[in-house]
Amino acid sequence: MVGAAILAIIGGMVANWFVMQRRYQKRILEMSDAQQSIRQASWNMIQELRTARNLIYPRLNADKSIKSDTMTVFKNFSGDIVCYYHYPETGEIRRCVVPNDSGAPIIDTKPIATRIDKVAFTSHDLGNRLLGIYLESGNTVGLESVYLLNE
């Protein structure tokens, strides 16, 4: 009887420890997934934005205050117009290239980021070269900024 009780206590402790481990692992997994999504999204966008030429949208408000939106539009290295926009239904950031001549717009079949709940692209300077990127995935947030190098 005493042996059974000791066994039950030990079993309970071990089971409790197991449940705690599972909860902890789940939390770690969710956070690392979110961090990965945010880093991947930032990397994909900053790669192209760094060598872009001009930020078309968003731009500062008329009173010179900052402006944010869920999409951004800029001229890339080749002078074509590139749009990044958030698609809230699927949590994706998508990319669309609008040729800066007579061609038709091309929407990328693959999103450049997934599992992104909120996005805010913020214009920060009068010269239209500094863009802030706020990303939210689950309870994790990421904030990056990129300076457009080319004219």
Binding site: L7, I10, G11, V14, F18, Q21, R22, Q25, I28, L29, S32, D33, Q35, Q36, R39, Q40, S42, W43, I46, Q47, R50, T51, N54, I56, Y57, R59, D69, T70, M71, V73, F77, S78, G79, D80, I81, C83, Y85, H86, Y87, R94, C96, V98, P99, N100, D101, S102, A104, P105, I107, E144, L149, N150, E151
Partner: protein, 204 residues
């Protein structure tokens, strides 16, 4: 006792497996973090190159082991000729490598003559980036990068020519015509974007 040992023997591999899964996901997040850091370090290396040119340091410069914080970058400044005003033209190349990830920035720079003392005027333009593992001190690799960059510059020339040769109305109607083929998320703000594009159109 045997039951307890048996229970632990079953659970330990499960917990180990779960921790491994968490670990590999974290490694992926770290990988993208390293990518961004490599890019930032290369960018600071490029600024260091511009500072050298502004300080009137002239001619070929190969600095393969420079530091930016805890990370290293390589800097290569390669003269390519002289400009119309007697300024020296350069290819400015910077590379940062963190573990297996490479990031290279390539730009053109014009270094003017000191009048009368440094800092001298430096104009940098057409920055181009790649994550391919090029060796920036090797001429063959530099030529290869030049070719890739050149293709994109040719496209830039096409888009600029189109802007120059179109009238304001032609350019506006061409851009407006694309609206219906855009995703709904962009369509709502497209008119404002077209206004900005037309206002800033390149003219002859």
């Amino acid at each position: 006792m045997v039951m307890v040992i048996g229970l632990i023997a079953i659970m330990m591999p499960v917990i180990f497996m779960l921790s491994r899964i968490g670990g590999s996901q974290t490694q992926l997040a770290i990988k993208y973090h390293e990518n961004l850091v490599a890019e930032t370090v290369a960018f600071s290396g490029s600024n260091a190159g511009l500072s050298r040119l502004q300080g009137n340091i002239r001619g070929y410069q190969d600095l393969p082991d420079e530091s930016s914080g805890e990370e290293k970058y390589a800097l290569n400044i390669r003269p390519t000729g002289a400009g119309f005003f007697g300024q020296t033209l350069y290819f400015l190349l910077t590379n940062a490598k963190i573990k297996s990830h490479n990031y290279t920035l390539m730009a053109e720079a014009e270094q003017f003559k000191p009048e009368p003392t440094p800092p001298v005027l430096v104009i940098s333009r057409d920055y181009w980036n790649t994550v391919e593992p090029y060796e920036i001190s090797l001429m063959a690799d530099v030529l290869s990068m030049q070719n890739y960059r050149g293709m994109e510059l040719l496209r830039l020339e096409e888009t600029r020519t189109f802007e120059r040769q179109s009238t304001l109305d032609q350019y506006k109607s061409e851009m407006q015509a694309k609206k219906l083929r855009l995703p709904a998320e962009i369509q709502s703000g497209w008119d404002k974007i077209v206004t900005t594009l037309v206002d800033e159109k390149i003219s002859e």
